[in-house]
Symmetry: C2
Subunit: 352 residues, 2 copies
DNA sequence: TTGAAAGCGCTAACAT
DNA sequence: ATGTTAGCGCTTTCAA
């Protein structure tokens, strides 16, 4: 085995050609595919390239091929653990395949979202993993379509498409079924006044969760009015205030489903401030299994889905597209599990 | 025939030149710097470019200029909230400055770390934000040095440098002072048997924290043997087992400093399993202020530093380098705050 | 199977 | 102030 002396980025393909005593284009062929190259030449070229520590210039190649080997990831907030886990897994899979992952965190700002798409397009990224953060994301979808890159949607509703067009592949999490299972579980414990605290129901995943929640209520013949859906910003303080109002009322819910860490935190604080014990006075269920849910006392029963799988599946779907050929899968639906812990119990007697 | 108004990436500078009735190079000059271009020509060119929806081809430009407008970020785990917050802030600042952020998450694998550096170098990223995850990172430093890009270190010890070389800029968090303050606080409450649970002390930040811990003990004249430092992997199960052993012993510590969410979680679980009340029987202090620390009952007193500031400062340091000229700051030291909550109290009588 | 030549779209040195 | 020209390093026809 030949020892690579030192990776020298400034060695050009021309120098390798000279060293191997063949033409520049032969080196290119030998090093890529290797099609239409005699075995001996292939070996000589490889040896020369190795000896000189040749590294192809990716910029020059990109200029020629119009592909960059880079993939963008557009999310509203990478520091949100729910996204961070996805990005992490996607990066891992993509880097295995030789792609670089570029991230853009847009803080739900539609302007920044479109700017990021434009930036991605201008840089000719080969593909994009995208989870628009704002409900009014039509313009983001348009920008994406105009960019003409391969797109994989991360747990968002797909945009309407024109006739004849194929929809973008998407990795979806079955939040509806998850919310249904969670609600059924609470109903099964005897709860009839269940509240859902969600940061917004305009789009997936919020909309799906609300639908699943209502599915389960309808199944149980429960009056939706007895089961309020509180839609609010995801700020903890706001959640806490809202939860206080909700739990302080006369006909307070006996169970509460909280979406996300911030809202869960706010709700738990509110319960504590009101002197409500969990699960004695109030059952609490978290949508999203975070450290807080797992480690709280009592440990919080939670809906969990596999973030790593979301990221990996998204990367896989995109890679299928990028490599072209072969059967193209266009949709992955991942399950949600209900992790039973100690935060849910039958409602207090007299309040049923 | 009327020209296309929408952004058309395939419009070349040559076509703009034709439309504006000037030469190709004049367009280049007019659109960049604008130096040595008459006002009228500048206006005409801008108008033509605008009308045609000209977008410069960044790939071609990169090939020429050997700069890419991209910055890499190398960390062991983006899904770790402590890194995610930094990445988020860095991305924000860098994207403002027109740079794209490429991430590589290397899971503490030295091989992947070097592969990522090689990849960054091969792609000619203009700079790198780096926090090597393994203690044996000499080869990572070498690879980085060989790559020849601008480097900013994220809260890690700087590598030794050859005489005459200028060290890489670094953003450091003052963990030593933080740990010292935390330990002093516990000592002040009357604790003398204080344990430090850390995921590793071979490098920054662990080493600094241990140093600060010992500083404070020495100040107080406490026998270090009474204050064990447990070094372990950051797995929760392991932390829990270790914490169980530690807390189950005869001379158990009356206070415990836990580094990171996983270890905090393990420690809290262990305390619960042993029937130790916090803070009645055991004071607990968290290094790193997470949702879990803030929302646990009782809320956990914690050391906190500003992740956003770390990311922003790192981006700023790098941008200074990339833009060149001007005074170059080479080091930022950010403070650590002690957030007082309810998890620390004087030790139980009889155990002091 | 191999080589010569033509660019990809841009910037920058040089000439005017 | 503007135009001409020569590449950046590579892939890819097209000939041989």
């Amino acid at each position: 085995m030949e020892e690579i002396v030192s990776r020298n980025a400034s060695v050009t393909i021309r120098e390798v050609a000279q060293a191997a005593g063949v033409s520049l284009s032969t080196v290119s062929r030998a090093l890529n595919g290797g099609k239409n190259v005699s075995a001996r030449v292939a070996r000589d070229v490889a040896a020369a390239a190795n000896r000189l520590g040749y590294q192809p210039d990716i910029l020059a190649r990109s200029l020629r091929t119009r592909t960059t080997g880079m993939v963008g990831c557009l999310v509203s907030d990478i520091s949100n653990p729910l996204y961070a886990g996805i990005v992490q897994a996607a990066e891992r899979r993509l880097s295995e395949a030789g792609y670089l992952l570029v991230v853009a965190s847009t803080a739900n700002d539609p302007g920044r979202e479109r700017a990021a798409v434009a930036e991605f397009a201008g840089r000719r990224l080969d593909g994009v993993l995208v989870a628009p953060g704002n409900a009014a994301n039509d313009r983001t979808w348009h920008a994406l379509a105009a960019a003409g890159t391969s797109v994989v949607i991360l747990d968002r509703d797909s945009p309407p498409i024109d006739a004849g067009e194929t929809p973008w592949p998407a990795v979806l999490v079955d939040h509806r079924e998850g919310a249904r299972a969670a609600t059924r579980y609470l109903v099964g414990l005897g709860h009839r006044r269940i509240a859902l605290l969600t940061p917004g129901g305009g789009m997936r995943p919020g909309r799906e969760r609300i639908a699943g929640f209502r599915d389960a209520l309808a199944e149980a013949g429960i009056d939706p009015a007895a089961a309020p859906v509180c839609i609010q910003e995801s700020s903890m303080d706001f959640a806490q205030g809202d939860a206080l109002a909700l739990l302080g009322g006369a006909e307070r819910p006996t169970a509460l489903i909280a979406l996300g860490t911030r809202i869960l935190a706010g709700a738990l604080r509110a319960a504590r401030d009101l002197g409500l014990s969990v699960p004695g006075d109030l059952s609490v269920l978290s949508v999203g299994d975070t450290d807080l849910a797992a480690m709280h006392t009592p440990a919080i029963t939670a809906l969990r889905w596999n973030l790593e799988e979301v990221g990996r599946a998204a990367a896989e779907l995109l890679l299928q597209r990028l490599r072209g050929g072969g059967p193209v899968q266009s949709r992955a639906l991942l399950p949600v599990d209900l992790v039973l812990r100690q935060s849910c119990a039958p409602p207090p007697v007299g309040l049923v």
